[in-house]
């Protein structure tokens, strides 16, 4: 995305997010420009007055100057505070816009390494560099500089054409120097990004309390990571030191050009003043004007170049803003209950990859069945679940529920039929109640489910019970739960949903046998006539299921009752089951 397009995108979105900002910006710019112009006239007014007018008049003029000065200072303060507030507000609203886009994007983007990297860079731009804040600040300045410069050029142009030429030459020389400077800065920061990312990894790893146990119990691992951390820390120092020294060359050149220009301006204006017998006031007006022009022009240029720098950082943000919204196709409302699920010659490879994870999968599940999906690590079980949940499109073949392609159904009405506990489920820093039920919880139902999954004892020890906030993220009284306890909440969350197809991917991996048995017992009671799909490494769960779907290398190898599968003594299933079973034999 080109800079111009990115910038106008930023401005458009900012206006949408917080229009007040632009009015404040305009007001601020007008006052800034006004102040600049006023300042250079102020001295002229006083100098001319004292030479020609009586004391009282001069004092009066001085009083007016002071008055205007104070008024300007007042408005400057006001606008400065307002601008800071609104810039921050706009930045925050834009963050919200991006967050919304991320939550509504098609799921495939969330597992795409390109987007995983992109969002990190977008995050860095805002958190580390305050890119948006600075860009908005510069935009405000531009208006002010623009107005000032336009005025000053016309003022100075009418005074002396040579003066304009000198100023033009100065601006040109400065532009050239700044362009070289920009190229240098951009190259440097490009090189810095990977260094920053790596250094950031080590800082995060060092400071992470979760890693603390391992670092204290393994000196060699600790020193490995610590030494790498020190190395990258020092690399960053070296890079930045060298950068600073080279930058000094550029700022020196700019300074040299500036003073050269000032010298020429002073000489020009002084000679003209003498030749034409102009007043001292006039002299200071034009000298002041030329210097003000130089200051504004240089600031304008510098900030343009810095803007380019910030826009570079912001590019990932721009790409995220272009994220498509999940079309959520389908217009047939899903009504009634789940009756059947059919995989019809479904094959699937993740986007941008060639390896087929699932090849020509076909099977049918009827209402009320309990199905267990079994296979070795990496066989494709979790992928199958993601397809049922409409997170991805099959590469070929169709998935049908109740006879219709699942993508024909209205998205939300289809999703309401499903409830899932993913293997890597997440809970939120809300209360237990809100985690289970979302907004507007049915307190009685929540409590019933919480007890059913075996949380009664734990809840009784919590002073706030179901209303306890999970994690101490922003509640000092927040609680930390064990892996097993969070798993129970995730199960309760799935059960609360009133879905007719329940999917559980390793739902009890963190639970001990008694807790696990308690869940399965209540589960039977709670989902009586619902259909359920299980994935578990503990093959014991496939015994109480109606049928077992065996997946090997992305193919469905078998789909039958446990008893029938066990008859095939050279199958993978038989091997896996007996391997686990033999350790549980009661002799």
């Amino acid at each position: 995305m080109k800079n111009g397009k990115l910038l106008s995108r930023l401005l458009k979105e900012s206006f949408r997010a917080n229009p007040t900002l632009f009015f404040v910006m305009l007001g601020n710019a007008l006052f800034s420009a006004g102040a600049t112009v006023f300042n250079i006239f102020a001295l002229k007014i006083v100098l001319d007055a004292v030479v020609t007018k009586p004391l009282e008049t001069s004092l009066f003029y001085a009083a007016v100057v002071v008055g205007v000065d104070v008024g300007v200072a007042f408005f400057n303060q006001l606008f400065e505070k307002l601008m800071d507030y609104h810039r921050n507000l706009t930045e925050q609203r834009l963050r919200e816009t991006v967050a919304k886009k991320l939550m509504n994007a098609p799921f495939s983007y969330l597992e795409d390494p390109y987007y995983l990297d992109l969002k990190e860079r977008a995050k860095f731009a805002n958190e580390n560099q305050n890119a948006i804040y600075h860009l908005l600040e510069y935009m405000g300045h531009f208006i002010s500089y623009g107005i000032s410069i336009a005025f000053l050029v016309s003022l100075l142009g009418t005074f002396d054409a040579w003066l304009l030429l000198v100023m033009g030459g100065y601006v040109a020389l400065t532009i050239v120097t700044q362009l070289f400077s920009l190229k240098f800065i951009a190259k440097f920061y490009q090189g810095l990004i990977p260094l920053n990312r790596r250094y950031g990894y080590y800082i995060d790893t060092m400071g992470n309390k979760e890693k603390a146990k391992e670092f204290r119990l393994n000196d060699k691992i600790r020193s490995l990571m610590f030494n790498k951390f020190v190395f990258f820390n020092q690399q960053t120092q070296v890079q930045l030191k060298s950068f600073n020294k080279k930058s000094a060359l550029f700022s020196s050149s700019l300074g040299f050009i500036n003073y050269l220009h000032m010298g020429v301006v002073y000489v020009l204006v002084a000679l003209k003043t003498i030749r034409q017998g102009l007043s001292a006031g006039t002299f200071s007006l034009y000298v002041g004007g030329a210097i003000a022009f130089a200051t504004n022009a240089v600031s304008l240029l510098t900030e343009t170049l810095q803007m380019a720098n910030y826009l570079n950082y912001l590019r990932p943000w721009g790409e995220l803003m272009d994220l498509p919204e999940d079309k959520q196709e389908g217009d047939r409302p899903f009504s009634g209950e789940f009756e059947s699920l059919e995989f019809d010659h479904v094959s699937f490879a993740y986007p941008k990859t060639k390896t087929e994870i699932l090849s020509d999968i076909s099977f049918k599940v009827k209402k009320g069945e309990r199905i267990s999906i079994v296979g070795l690590n990496g066989a494709g079980k979790t992928t199958l679940i993601k397809l049922i949940c409409r997170l991805y499109h099959p590469t070929s073949g169709k998935i049908r529920v109740n006879g219709h392609d699942i993508f024909d159904y209205q998205y939300r009405s289809y999703m309401d039929t499903l409830a899932s506990v993913f293997q890597d489920f997440r809970l939120f820093a809300y209360s237990i109640e809100e985690n289970i039920a979302g907004s507007g919880p049915d307190a009685e139902k929540v409590l019933r489910l919480a007890h059913a999954v075996g949380l009664k004892e734990k809840l009784e020890t919590l002073p706030n019970g179901l209303k306890s906030n999970l994690s101490k993220e922003y509640d000092e009284n927040g609680i930390e739960l064990s892996g097993g306890q969070t798993q129970k909440i995730a199960i309760a969350r799935a059960l609360y949903k009133n879905a007719s197809l329940v999917i559980l991917d390793e739902p009890t991996s963190a639970l001990d046998p008694l807790a696990e048995a308690e869940i399965y017992q209540h589960f039977n009671e709670l989902v009586n006539d619902k259909t359920a799909i299980f994935i578990s490494h503990r093959l014991s769960s496939s015994v109480f299921c109606d049928r077992v779907l065996l997946i090997q290398d992305g193919h469905t190898v078998d789909f039958d009752t446990h008893a029938n599968l066990m008859k095939k003594k050279d199958s993978l299933y038989f091997k896996m089951f007996t391997t686990q079973a033999k350790n549980y034999q009661l002799d």
């Binding site: 505070k81 507030y85 040299f256 939120f428």
Partner: protein
């Protein structure tokens, strides 16, 4: 609350320690160099304006050339001094991260599970967060502020030759400005906790959206709208407080403006009257006016810088407090490690987590013989992992003793103690380093041993299939071409890491939870081979793993409930029996049909 001067003095010590004294002399030198530049600009009218009425243009041009030339040279010098200070200031700040992390890694483990302590500690790092404010900000502020003192002194000298009242008015105004700035900052500091709390919540919601692992659950449970609304509400709370702080600051700024009125008014009055009285030339008058404006600006800038310094040093106090705290290490032991496998004994051990009222372990008595393999089982939260943390010295028991071959673990030095244990925790980490480094850390030798460990956990084939074999990088964060291992493979690697260590004892906490049945069986089968003669503890929910251990210890919230061999416990028909039968229930059915629901 340590004073601003004390904090700056400490920082000067840091600078000297880091051998960055160039910051001092560069800033000092710059004070004169950069301070002179604006003063020259103020003086220039004095000589030029009076020359405008004389016909001798050569002298005028000479003055201008000297002014421009000298200013340019001073500016260039200042630019290089700035570069020197910028580079060094950053180095000094970054070195503090090294100091901090070195200390953080050496703290007693108990602080890692002490959230109030951690909160305070992370807050103390605030001053090191960026290069504009806080710790580094002080050095930049000093660099920018010193020249202002020099210029101000020059203006005072100039104006002093005329009328002291002008100077007094300027200083008075500056004093009021300082007070105003401080009051505004103090209010902001008072509100900082409230502000941070609101910010944290807003940031959390932003992090959730950016953390793609939440994606499935957000879509499954239709949480987008709820999250977005909460995001908006917490942002609004934040801005309410922020707006309040800004309004307050604006109020104080009004005082500034009042002072400006008085100051400017007085100065103009005195100077203009003086010209009319014939006390100065026109050129001198414009120079005086310029000096008043410049002095006012300088003093105002100085007062803002002072307020900034005050602000920055406030946060530094927390940092130094943490760094100076010597009470955070309790290991006093000196003994070197034992040889070979040892006996382990828990003697009447009781322990509570920091800030907890509930005993995690109470009067625990347990003994392992040399080379014994113990299975530690029990419900979640019964204390299994706690027991391991106590045994390895991460925590210290509140009562009782833990003895290795009869020696209290407190007597061993921390370095020696950790060398005796090879542990795989449930939440182990794979680091962004090579496969080999993940096993042996930065041990210079030991490659052969590491390769053996890798082979013994069944990873040899996988490692050989990797592009750079054992030197292949893992994870993609450091090396974009790095490899990602599956959950099961990382678990095997973590076990290899523990085996490599040549420790006297091995502890494995749920080491096969991510492995499928066959891979799990391979680990069980080779377990004896893997741990050889070492004493070992094996924690698992899957009671199938207990059969290959010598003894089983069953922990409940009441402590050690049952202890014995598998057969003994089964015969007891207690809790262990119940758990074993329940978990194995469905494995008992062979050809018979499954239970009716």
């Amino acid at each position: 609350m340590p004073s601003m001067w004390a904090m700056m003095k400490r920082q000067r010590q840091d600078i000297r320690k880091d051998k960055q004294k160039r910051i001092f002399w560069a800033s000092g030198f710059n004070m004169v160099v950069a301070g002179a530049i604006p003063a020259l600009a103020v003086l220039l009218p004095m000589v030029i304006i009076d020359q405008l009425s004389s016909p001798n243009t050569n002298q005028l041009i000479l003055y201008i050339v000297i002014f421009a030339g000298v200013s340019a040279i001073l500016y260039i010098i200042s630019a290089f001094l700035k570069a020197i200070v910028n580079g060094s200031a950053l180095s000094v700040r970054m070195n503090r991260f090294i100091d901090f992390n070195r200390k953080f890694l050496a703290l007693d483990y108990k602080y890692m599970e002490d959230n109030p302590f951690l909160d305070k500690m992370y807050a103390s790092l605030r001053c090191l967060n960026n290069d504009n404010t806080g710790y580094e900000g002080i050095m930049h502020t000093m660099f920018s502020m010193l020249p202002l003192f020099f210029s101000a002194a020059l203006y005072v000298a100039l104006l002093g030759t005329y009328n002291a009242w002008v100077i007094i008015a300027c200083f008075f105004g500056a004093g009021v400005s300082v007070v105003g700035n401080m009051m505004a900052n103090r209010y902001q500091y008072k509100k900082k906790d409230e502000l941070e709390h609101a910010l944290r919540k807003t940031n959390y919601l932003n992090d959730v959206a950016f953390d793609f692992t939440y994606g499935k659950d957000i879509r499954m449970f239709n949480l987008n709208e709820k999250l977005r609304k909460d995001f908006r509400n917490s942002a609004n709370s934040f801005f309410k407080i922020y707006g309040d702080i800004k309004a307050h600051a604006f109020g104080w700024a009004m005082l500034d403006i009042l002072m400006l009125l008085i100051q400017d008014g007085l100065a103009y009055f005195l100077i203009i009257s003086g010209y009319y009285k014939g006390e100065m030339s026109l050129g001198t008058m414009s120079a005086y006016i310029g000096a008043v404006i410049a002095l006012t600006t300088s003093l105002k800038a100085i007062s803002k810088y002072f307020a900034d310094l005050h602000d920055y040093t406030r946060y530094m106090g927390d940092f130094y407090h943490f760094m100076d705290d010597q009470t955070l290490f309790s290991y006093q032991g000196k003994k070197t490690r034992l040889d070979g496998s040892f006996t382990v004994e828990f003697k009447d051990v009781s322990f509570k987590y920091p800030h907890s009222d509930v005993y995690a372990l109470r009067h625990l008595n347990l003994r392992l013989e040399k080379g014994e393999k113990l299975a530690l089982v029990g419900a979640n939260g019964a204390g299994k992992t706690t027991l391991v943390k106590l045994l390895t010295g991460l925590f210290v028991p509140d009562e009782g003793q833990i003895l290795l071959d009869g020696v209290d673990i407190k007597e061993f030095s921390q370095k020696e103690l950790q060398a005796m244990f090879g542990v795989v925790f449930q939440d182990f980490t794979i680091y962004a380093a090579s496969v080999l480094e993940n096993v042996k850390g930065d041990d210079a030798q030991g490659k052969e041993l590491a390769m053996q460990a890798i082979a013994s956990v069944g990873l040899q084939k996988k490692v050989e299939s990797l592009p750079h074999k054992e030197d292949t990088s893992l994870l993609k964060v450091i090396d974009e071409e790095g490899t990602l291992l599956s959950g099961g493979e990382t678990q095997k690697l973590a076990i290899a890491r523990a085996l490599y260590k040549d420790s006297n004892m091995i502890i494995l906490d749920e080491p096969t939870s991510a492995l499928d049945a066959l891979a799990e069986e391979a680990i069980y089968r080779d377990f004896d081979q893997l741990v050889k003669h070492k004493t070992a503890i094996y924690i698992s929910h899957r009671l199938s793993s207990t059969k290959f251990c010598d003894h089983i210890a069953l922990l409940t919230s009441n402590g050690l409930a049952e202890y014995g061999t598998h057969d003994e416990l089964m015969a007891q028909k207690g809790l262990y029996y119940e758990m074993f039968v329940t978990q194995g229930k469905y494995y008992q059915e062979k050809e018979s049909d499954h239970e009716e629901r």
